[in-house]
Structures are given as structure tokens and as C-alpha cells.
């Protein structure tokens, strides 16, 4: 067989990477190449350089070093029993592609993952070599995200964090049982141990809050760590998923848990649900996750907004919660505390902050709230303002129906 062209490899190894959702380029330190002659910068919040027709942002060159793999995880295209075409990049090829794309402003950096070949250490070492070469040989200051290979030596992990902005180890499944059934070679405790090690290094690198003499510690994975969980390949309900996430957030200080609706893969095992991915469920889980992290909700509250451990797919989780707790509404926008304002459907953290800032100067009317919130329909039944009280609206039987958006028509193209 003739050797594959670089372009063909790129096609195979980016196709193989497209199921991983944990791809963003935000939340790292600020740095740039100014005055250094290299290329690359990160400004804290990432930039999406393009969007695929799946609506997902393309900010990084997301590829696998190789899609050969000794493991046989049923849900994965690259599992050893699958007959997809295999390819492998050299370290230099990945470095070259990253720089070429970056210089044309196509990307914000690199997200490199890999099938496991030979041994975890060997595979991790290869990933580390790419990152090291970008940083040391090419003064590349862009974003780098490396996948952690569970069970790789702690020294390799330590080095990976020196070069990478973010490290991630995928938990993959909401329960250990599902993981072991679908990924027979993976040990959940090894995955969690890898996360624990990353957390340990992150804690070490964190500046100590109390000490005045801020001796600059060497930077280590400034964008922290993340993980991905596949949704809908097993039978776990949303409660189990969110509980799992809560355990991971609290244990390993993750920046993000990415939820990835299981999508059919070519050459898939018959043990998998081969149907379109549950995108709405994925969306609701992200919303729930958000409410838990930034709005002071806890997992049981969110789950109670739906039925039988599943989130309501028709409406967002905050609205679902509010409709089940109408006794806590209406909330007076001119008096209520921040925590309660955050629980009003349709008000985000920014709107709440602006409401609080504005009401120091004058009392808010419904119009004012509308201007601040951008839209008032969802908010109106749950608030009181200077010139507005919802009367019976809050308790109206058909409120749910009124606030449920009509099913979206698929756009013709």
C-alpha cells in the first residue's frame, strides 16, 4: 500500500477526533509573542475561528496523533475491533500543521489526543514531544490542550502540564459499571487517579493566597483540567450524570465537564443505540451544569424540576424549577437579594448585576427590566416591578404551556 499523503492523514485523524466535545480554548493565562519574534497569543477568553455546520465552534486544530489503539471501547470509532482506516502522524507533521494553520489565523491552537499504542507511557511521551517542540523549537505561544493517557507515568504528566494550557482525562461514562461494560480495558479508578494527579500539580502551582511575597511559581496547565462524559450510550439518567459531574467538580477542581451526546459512529457495535444523538438532552445538561456552577442550584433541586431523574426536554431547567416552585414567586426586582433574582427565569448573572446597580439610583419599571434582560416574556410572570405585578399569572394553570416554545422548524437551506 502506498504511504498516505499528509492530507489523507489529516482527513482520517480529524474525522477520528470529531466525537470529542471537550474542545474549547478559553480560560488560560494571558500571553503573547510581542517582542519575542515567535507567533501566538492567548487573551484569556478563546476565539472561535470558524463554525462547522453542526454549530460547534472550531477554535483548535483537533486531531489524533494516531487512531491505532490497543483498547476496544465499544463507543469509540478507533477501538481495535473497528475496521476504519488507520493512520499515524509523526511529531513533526503535527507541529508543522499546527504552525501552518496558526499563521493563517485558522486556529487558536492545538488539541491533541491519541489512540493508545504500545503503552500509555509511550503514547503520552509522543503527545508531550509535540507540545515541547511547539514551545521550545518554535516559540509557539498559542493554546495547547493535551489529552492525558491514564496510567502514564507521573513524570510525563508533570511535563505535559509545563507545555500545555489544558489537560483532560475523559471519564467517558456516567457510571463505573457502564464504563467497564463498554470499555473493558479502562479502569475508572485509573482515570480518576490521573485527574487526582493533575489536581495535585495544579494545587502546587497555584499562587498561595496568603503569602505576600508572591514568588512566581512555574506555570502549570493554566487553563486547568476538564473531562468529557458521553450521554445516551448507556442507560444512566440525568440525575446520575449530574451527580457524577458534581463528584468530579468537587474532587478534581475541573474547569468543565463536557457532555457529549452519543452519536452513531461508522462500523459500530450492535450493543449501541444507533440513533441520532440526543442533542436536546445534551443541551439541557449543559444548562443544568451551568445553574449548578454559577447560580447556586444543587443537583437534587435541578433534577426535581423534571420527572423520574430526567430533565424536562421542552423547557430549560431554571424555568422547570420555577414552575414547580411557584410559591417562591413573584420576586420583587426592586428588593430581592441577588440569590433570589438569579432564580428568576430569563435573568442571567449579567442582567441581575445590572438590575442591582440600576436600582440603587431609581426603582425599576417593567420596561427597565425588559431593556436590561433583552426580553421580558419569560421574566414577566415571575417578577414584581414598580408598575407591574403578575397577579394570577404566576399561578396560572396554563403558564407552562404559554412559556413552552413551539417546536422548532428545521431550517431549509
Amino acid at each position: 500500500m502506498p504511504p498516505l499523503t499528509l492530507r489523507r492523514k489529516l482527513a482520517i485523524l480529524s474525522d477520528a477526533a470529531k466525537y470529542d466535545a471537550s474542545c474549547a480554548s478559553s480560560g488560560t493565562e494571558k500571553r503573547n509573542s510581542a517582542g519575542k519574534g515567535g507567533i501566538g497569543s492567548t487573551e484569556g477568553s478563546g476565539i472561535c475561528h470558524s463554525y462547522a455546520p453542526d454549530g460547534r465552534c472550531i477554535s483548535l486544530l483537533k486531531i489524533l496523533l494516531t487512531n491505532f489503539c490497543v483498547y476496544d471501547c465499544i463507543y469509540c470509532v478507533n477501538r481495535s475491533s473497528s475496521n476504519v482506516q488507520r493512520a499515524r502522524f509523526s511529531v513533526e507533521e503535527v507541529v508543522g500543521l499546527t504552525l501552518d494553520f496558526y499563521k493563517r489565523n485558522y486556529i487558536e491552537g492545538l488539541f491533541l489526543s491519541s489512540g493508545i499504542i504500545r503503552s500509555p507511557d509511550y503514547t503520552m511521551e509522543e503527545l508531550v514531544r509535540v507540545a515541547r517542540s511547539l514551545r521550545e523549537d518554535h516559540q509557539f505561544a498559542g493554546y495547547i490542550h493535551l489529552k492525558v493517557i491514564p496510567n502514564a507515568a507521573p513524570e510525563l504528566l508533570a511535563e505535559a502540564g509545563r507545555w500545555a494550557d489544558r489537560l483532560s482525562t475523559n471519564i467517558e461514562m456516567p457510571t463505573d459499571i457502564a464504563l467497564e461494560t463498554l470499555a473493558p480495558e479502562k479502569r475508572p479508578s485509573e482515570i480518576r487517579t490521573a485527574m487526582a494527579r493533575v489536581r495535585g500539580k495544579l494545587d502546587e502551582a497555584a499562587p498561595e493566597a496568603k503569602t505576600k511575597t508572591r514568588t512566581a511559581k512555574p506555570k502549570w496547565a493554566p487553563a486547568g483540567q476538564s473531562t468529557q462524559m458521553i450521554i445516551g450510550a448507556d442507560g444512566a439518567n440525568d440525575g446520575a450524570i449530574l451527580n457524577r459531574a458534581a463528584g468530579l467538580y468537587s474532587g478534581y477542581k475541573l474547569r468543565r465537564v463536557y457532555y457529549s451526546a452519543f452519536s452513531p459512529i461508522p462500523d459500530a457495535s450492535s450493543r449501541l443505540p444507533l440513533r441520532p444523538p440526543p442533542l436536546m438532552r445534551e443541551h439541557r445538561l449543559y444548562q443544568a451544569d451551568w445553574l449548578i456552577r454559577f447560580y447556586g442550584f444543587d443537583v437534587p433541586e435541578i433534577v426535581a424540576g423534571g420527572e423520574d431523574g430526567l430533565l424536562d426536554l421542552a423547557i430549560d431547567p431554571k424555568l422547570a424549577w420555577a414552575l414547580k416552585h411557584r410559591e417562591r414567586f413573584p420576586v420583587d426586582v426592586n428588593r430581592a437579594d441577588r440569590d433570589m433574582l438569579l432564580r428568576v427565569p430569563g435573568l442571567g448573572t449579567r442582567s441581575v448585576d445590572r438590575i442591582i446597580a440600576t436600582r440603587r439610583h431609581h426603582s425599576l419599571r417593567l420596561d427597565d427590566v425588559a431593556r436590561i434582560a433583552g426580553s421580558i416574556d419569560k421574566v414577566r410572570p415571575f417578577i414584581e416591578a414598580l408598575d407591574w405585578t403578575p397577579g394570577g399569572l404566576t399561578d396560572h394553570q396554563r403558564l407552562r404551556a404559554k412559556l413552552t416554545p413551539a417546536p422548532e422548524q428545521l431550517a431549509l437551506f
Binding site: 489529516l10 482520517i12 470529531k18 501566538g40 455546520p53 501552518d100 463505573d176 479508578s189 467538580y249 468537587s250
Partner: protein
């Protein structure tokens, strides 16, 4: 009515100079019209010549206004100068104006500024450089971009910071900017044809774009809202969007229909290797076996959220074994028992009473950390009787392999585990209990109990009692050694 002519479309300093003069002359916004280059004056409008000489000082404005105005002045709306002047005028009367998010002028200005910021952000994202390589192989880069507002000046420094070592230019219809690795130089606008049409890497980029797209997740409106169609004509990948969308349903169907085929022979060989390896390690005949096997324990539900099982540590044939409750947060992360604050208390006490720490084996009654997640922390939870009972299996193995002469139960959970029933420390401490197999059991508090006492006096008292218990342990070990 006076018409003020500006030389530039978006020069804040120029506008500020003129606005100051108007303000100083007390000209209210209704009496001022702003004109940009090329725009004709209306009838009955006086020209620049009528601009009054600046007279006297004018009031100060909040810094927030300067920042807002510097951004909003790049907006394409011809009404921007007017609005800016009106806000400036009103700020003289109401210095708090910008804090009132409900004010119409204020919110329009804010919206304008965010539209400009968004446009600038899109420029950062959607500029596509094309390489021009000369005979020596040196690469220069150029891009054609059509911003919606006048946002090049605002955005160029970003490109300078990012592409420091590159020579590049960005050409827009109203202005161009060049970077020679040292300075940014602005010049007049240009045309699309000033920039090369294609780039050698573009085809790779398109390959990437189409391969990274998952046809099973089609979400066209999400794409369009983030990547508005108006930017598409200068994105090399955009031409792929329509065909990818059209083929998506079919591609998805194909993925679903392409069911599993016969696995390749490489896979079959690998599977056999794993099966053999798994079989080889299923029996537990040593402490090391037990240590490995406990990682796969499913005897109770605690394994699911803890990081790992934390097995005991110490010499294989220690004389004395300390049994605690369960690993805590730190122990769970590190995989080692007694490395947190409670471990420090224990170590100090052991050393103080003169027990040789290097001959001690420490472990826990329950091997997995039980906790309640709360934000970014995990709150310790007590193991229940079922968990203690389930985990006794591992403790028994440890006792069986280590064969300690003396066991010390630290706290109620450990005592419960070792005695098989709920136990009260205060009743059991102070006297040895001889177990069925002849080992001597002492019961005392868990060192973390000492850490939780707020009152210093009581704390000292309890610490003393704890050390007294350890003295008994020390003496028991000595006595046992003397027998030999």
C-alpha cells in the same frame, strides 16, 4: 444649527477636540450637526468656521464614558457622533447617567459599543491570511477583510501581539494596516485584489473543516448566528458549508447503517493477550495481590465516586497495626493513608510516646472515601454499617498477611469493624481486648477527633488521654517482645 465637519470616520481625539469647543460654547445637541468626509451640509447650516473658540474650562466626565465613546465612535451608524455629544452634554447635568442601564441614550451607546466589540472580535476570528513566498523562501502574509464597522484600528494591535514574528498586512475597504515585525503602519483602504486569491494550505484547511464536522449533529442556525453569512465570502472554508449540509442526512444514515464488520486480526490477537493477563491475576495470595485487587472492589457502592481505594501502608510484618476510619480528601487523591492533618497528629503522638513509627502499619476500616460534593469541596461522610461490613473483607486480608501482634482501633468506625458491633470508645479505651486469634486490640479516639475540639483546654486534655492510650500500646508491644 451648526454643522461640524470631521476629517476622519473614527478618530476619537478629533471628535473630542471639537466636542469640547461646542460644550465650552454651551451649544446644545439640538443645535449641532456632525458631518463626515464627503457629506454635504444641509441648507441653513453654518460650517466649521462658525465653531466657537474654546472658552474656559469644561467639566470632567466619568472615565467610563471615555472608554465607551472610544469604542462606539467606530460604529458605522452616522448618528454616532450625535449620540456621543448628547450623552456628553447630559453628563454635565447628570454625572450618574451611565449607571442607569434603563436610560435610552445610555443603552443605545452601550449597544453600539458592543456591536463594535463584536465586530472586532469577528475580525480576530475571521481574518484569513494568505502566504506570499518570495524566492528566498521568506513568507509574508496578507488578508482582505470587510468589517461591518470601522474596527480595524481597534483590532490591529491584537494581530501585532499575536503574529509578532510574521510580516503581514490586513486590507479593508476603508483602511489598511501593515506590520513589519516592529511597527504598525496604517494607510488608506484597498481592494480584494490587493491580496492573493489562494493559499497553498487552504486545501488542507478545507479538508480539516469537512472532516471535523459530525453530520449527525446538524445545527445550521447555531452556526449562522455565530458565523454570520456576511463574513462567509472571505472564508475559504465557507464554500463547503452548503454541500456538507446537503449531504448530512445521508452521511448520518450511512454511519448508522454501516454496522460492525468482522474485527481485524490484530484485534483478535490483542484480546487474547488481555484475557490471559486478567486470568493470571485473579487469585489473592499475598499482601501485594490484595493491594492490586482492592482497586477493582465492588463490594459496596463507595468505589463509584472515590478516586481510588486506599490500602494500608507499612512494613509487611509490622508488630502493630493502626486502623482508622476511611481515607479523607487528601488520602483519596494521593492514594495513601494518613497523610492529611489527622495523620500528622497520629505521627506526632506515636513518636512522643516512643513507638517506633517504622514498625507500624497504618490502614483504614473502609478503603474508599465517602463524601458529599459541595461546590469545589468534598465533605466527609461517615461510612455506614453495611459499608463497614463489606470492607471488612479487605481489612481481614491485611491482618492475615501482616499478622500484627497489636491492633489499635482509632475511633468508633474502626472499633465497629474489628469487633463486629457498634462500640463506644469511652467504655472500651484503656484496657486491652484479646481477640479470638490472640492479637491484642486497643481502642482509642480517632486523631481527627482531637482536631475538631475548639476549646484549647479540652483539646489538651483529650490529647493527653490519647497519648496515654498509646503508652499502653507501647508497653504491650514491649511486653510481647520480652516474651520471645
Amino acid at each position: 444649527m451648526i454643522a461640524v465637519r470631521l476629517q476622519s470616520l473614527n478618530d476619537f481625539d478629533e471628535w473630542r477636540g471639537k466636542a469640547r469647543q461646542l460644550l465650552a460654547a454651551g451649544l446644545s445637541p439640538e443645535n449641532v450637526a456632525w458631518r463626515i468626509p464627503g457629506e454635504a451640509n444641509g441648507l441653513f447650516e453654518g460650517g466649521d468656521a462658525m465653531l466657537p473658540e474654546a472658552a474656559g474650562p469644561i467639566g470632567s466626565v466619568p472615565r467610563q464614558f471615555i472608554e465607551l465613546a472610544q469604542t462606539a465612535i467606530n460604529h458605522a451608524d452616522p448618528a454616532r457622533f450625535d449620540l456621543l455629544y448628547r450623552v456628553l452634554w447630559r453628563l454635565q447635568e447628570v454625572p450618574q447617567l451611565l449607571l442607569n442601564a434603563a436610560d435610552k441614550d445610555n443603552s443605545t451607546l452601550t449597544l453600539m459599543a458592543s456591536a463594535v466589540r463584536r465586530d472586532s472580535h469577528k475580525m480576530k476570528a475571521f481574518v484569513r491570511f494568505k502566504a506570499i513566498t518570495d524566492d528566498t523562501g521568506f513568507e509574508r502574509f496578507a488578508a482582505w477583510f470587510e468589517p461591518e464597522h470601522y474596527s480595524l484600528e481597534l483590532t490591529a494591535p491584537f494581530f501585532a501581539r499575536r503574529f509578532d514574528g510574521m510580516v503581514w498586512a490586513i486590507v479593508t475597504p476603508y483602511r489598511s494596516v501593515y506590520w513589519d515585525t516592529q511597527t504598525l503602519v496604517f494607510a488608506e483602504g484597498g481592494r480584494r485584489t490587493d491580496v492573493p486569491e489562494v493559499d497553498a494550505v487552504e486545501e488542507d484547511w478545507r479538508t480539516y473543516f469537512s472532516s471535523i464536522f459530525n453530520p449527525a449533529r446538524l445545527k445550521i442556525s447555531a452556526m449562522k448566528s455565530e458565523m454570520p453569512v456576511k463574513y462567509w465570502r472571505n472564508l475559504p472554508e465557507a464554500e463547503l458549508i452548503a454541500p456538507l449540509v446537503r449531504g448530512a442526512r445521508q452521511a448520518e444514515q450511512q454511519m448508522i447503517e454501516r454496522a460492525a464488520s468482522q474485527p481485524p486480526s490484530r484485534h483478535v490477537k490483542q484480546t487474547e493477550k488481555y484475557a490471559q493477563a486478567a486470568e493470571a491475576q485473579s487469585e489473592i495470595t499475598s499482601l501485594a495481590d490484595a493491594r492490586a485487587a482492592v482497586q477493582g472492589c465492588r463490594r459496596c457502592p463507595l468505589y463509584e465516586h472515590a478516586t481510588q481505594a486506599v490500602f494500608g501502608e507499612g512494613p509487611e510484618h509490622a508488630q502493630v497495626m493502626f486502623v482508622g476510619e476511611q481515607p479523607g480528601d487528601q488520602e483519596d487523591l494521593a492514594g495513601q493513608p494518613f497523610i492529611g492533618p489527622a495523620g500528622k497528629v497520629l505521627d506526632a503522638a506515636v513518636e512522643k510516646v516512643g513507638i517506633d513509627r517504622s514498625r507500624v502499619y497504618v490502614t483504614n476500616a473502609v478503603k474508599h472515601f465517602k463524601f458529599e460534593p459541595r461546590g469545589k469541596r468534598r465533605i466527609h461522610n461517615k461510612p455506614d454499617a453495611g459499608e463497614i461490613q463489606a470492607c471488612k473483607f479487605w481489612l481481614n486480608l491485611e491482618i492475615g498477611f501482616v499478622k500484627p501482634k497489636v491492633i489499635v482501633a482509632l475511633g468508633a468506625t474502626a472499633a465497629h469493624s474489628l469487633l463486629g458491633r457498634t462500640a463506644t470508645i469511652s467504655k472500651l479505651r484503656g484496657a486491652p481486648i484479646t481477640m479470638e486469634d490472640g492479637t491484642v486490640l486497643f481502642v482509642t479516639n480517632h486523631p481527627s477527633y482531637l482536631l475538631r475540639i475548639p476549646d484549647p483546654e479540652r483539646k489538651a486534655l483529650e490529647r493527653e488521654k490519647f497519648e496515654q492510650d498509646l503508652v499502653l500500646v507501647r508497653d504491650a508491644i514491649a511486653a510481647l517482645e520480652a516474651c520471645h
